[in-house]
Subunit: 425 residues, 2 copies
Amino acid sequence: MQPRVVIIGAGFGGLYAARALAHAPVDVVVVDRTNHFVFQPLLYQVATAVLAPSDIAVPIRWRLCGQRNTSVVLAAATEIDVERRVVTLDREPRTLSYDYLIVATGSHHSYFGHAEWAREAPGLKGIDDALEIRRRFLLAFERAEWAPTAAERDRQLTIVVVGGGPTGVELAGMIQPASRHTFQHEFRNIDTRSARVVLVEAGPRLLPALPEPLSEQAKRDLEALGVEVRLDTKVTGVDESGVQLGDERVDAATVFWAAGNAASPLGSLLGVPLERGGRIRVAPDLSVPGHPEVFVVGDLALIEQDGRAVPAVAPAAMQQGRAAARNVVHAVLRQEREPFRYVDKGDLATIGRHRAVASFFQGKIQLRGRIAWWFWLLLHIAYLAGFRNRISVMIQWAYAYFTYQRGARLLEGGRGSGIGADPCR
Amino acid sequence: MQPRVVIIGAGFGGLYAARALAHAPVDVVVVDRTNHFVFQPLLYQVATAVLAPSDIAVPIRWRLCGQRNTSVVLAAATEIDVERRVVTLDREPRTLSYDYLIVATGSHHSYFGHAEWAREAPGLKGIDDALEIRRRFLLAFERAEWAPTAAERDRQLTIVVVGGGPTGVELAGMIQPASRHTFQHEFRNIDTRSARVVLVEAGPRLLPALPEPLSEQAKRDLEALGVEVRLDTKVTGVDESGVQLGDERVDAATVFWAAGNAASPLGSLLGVPLERGGRIRVAPDLSVPGHPEVFVVGDLALIEQDGRAVPAVAPAAMQQGRAAARNVVHAVLRQEREPFRYVDKGDLATIGRHRAVASFFQGKIQLRGRIAWWFWLLLHIAYLAGFRNRISVMIQWAYAYFTYQRGARLLEGGRGSGIGADPCR
């Protein structure tokens, strides 16, 4: 009977940990609330109807199918007993005992103590979120077309995006072109080009993870697309009719939230003190202090390196997942554990077509414009899981690129179609 | 001010009517509850995770984008005042007055007076239905994998399909291979090949619209796939744990309904007597007796030809939609109206791979096996709307054909991926 490793969460952290254990002398059980792994960096393209959900997600079972030592459970963890080493689930098999536990349940957006804003201003973390944002985005134009008053029409044509990080920037940069091109010829009572997209950031600049010049470039790029960028601006209220920015009122039917980072509530089940944002401070080997058999990886883990917290981004989660898996094997084989070391591969964000910013080696290499855009494109295709997803995404992008159309414009998740000289195609 | 034609429903009947009015001297308003047109003949492939919803649906707005005389309303009709010629909607613009009305709201499955069965045994008419059936289909295997008892495991691995028409036959024929091939290597605690699929038909044969020999061929083909076919068998009960077939009990976690035909309730708003199944008997020009300005087309319309009712199938709806549009133009131009004449293009159904049955010219030409299968394939590609849908469907089918995988296996509507020699791919 081999030791059992239970992994909770099959995002970048959990899935890469599981794959790294494929040939290890352990039994692996992967637990996730959904049956699929999502390539989160492209979620905003599902939310803006460019890609179909299926283009950026694959079944966890299929991804781990070749690993005979690994099984998958579709369930949510409700309790963790770190003393008895048992995880409780909301479905069969109800309980899972473990010898080693890897918690990789990630994070969601933070409403800074205003949980009630979530209903009016959904965040973007999973496929369901993306479909909800897409639904509101598409519905706004349908409602504007038949709005009873000019004021209501303008409110429907106003979209506010909160948060100037990569998600907010890329979301705003994808919404605006839809009104300028995609929808232009399909409505009879409104000029979709009059739609207003406002990007609100509380801090002094966009994309704080990138060097300052690139933040300014991103701002210029967004403004060139017609996006209103508001820096140093805090959201003080969100309700069904719009948002409050200090004394300024913006009437908007649609508000999307891409700000803050709140670690998964599962962290509180481990019975260790939580740091800011609900993250769990881990030892250099990524284990929880006092519980060398419990590891935490990804957005939920807090670990400092060179005096700065390792960022809550996909590459860090992947690296931590693999490192935790290696340390599990070391522990099983009675070897010394390795300290985790984050290799910063750089940051990049894309803004509409032919525009992107990228920074590598702590800003030693900075790219912008077309070259950064093509680089972004190739990198994301390369990291996508699965031959068919790559083909499919490339087809969607080629279609969107040449036709200015959007591939997935159905309120229930369908895909618009057709190609040619006709402006409607 | 041109006369206004209001079309309720953008299925095969309504959409083809709208397109036929593109250059007519009228204003057209198309009303639908969804924002997309669905290619219903392939819905069962979305329900069985072969295709993504987006592959078989296109936005109505996009489809009618080139028609400057046509606008689209996303809403449901709640009332029709045939005297004042006004349609009431559940959303803005709330009311639409018309000079001519085309009602094309189709039909749903009939539970023969047991509406309460719908919750346990969903039907298959729209994208949402297909996603619900796919969800239950995928969930059954997830639950079986961790079922606490053998009895529960077997119940989860039993799927009952009610109705031996094309939908039921094609659904059953697509479900069985998934358990034999697609899922085979991904589960650790169950042998998915032991899954049981039961197709129940109240009548003496499958596919009653086709010649008898083809019905028998279809039965043999299904049985060769491992489907249990029960003819002359009535469903007498459906509950959360299974179905009752007379004195026989079948414990099944999953039941799909593809029997009967109940016309859309909207027919009752027209204030004319309803025929069996809630259909409306129309005049030869497809108008409602006493209301020459109101037309009914598609599944909702009842019209006899050569002593037999025109069947409630997509080709009939398309032909009626075009005919009603022509008669609207005749009426506007004070010309004589044409009587509708249904051209039966034949029937066909596919059963798994390399197996299908087809009948043309009232059975004068009958095809079966590979040739019928390839014919079915080409015909459906040809009728799909939109260049991109065709490309996408062909890619999905090639993938499924060569890998025995399914393209859309996500509980939230994603797409599995990967290709190669690995049995998991």
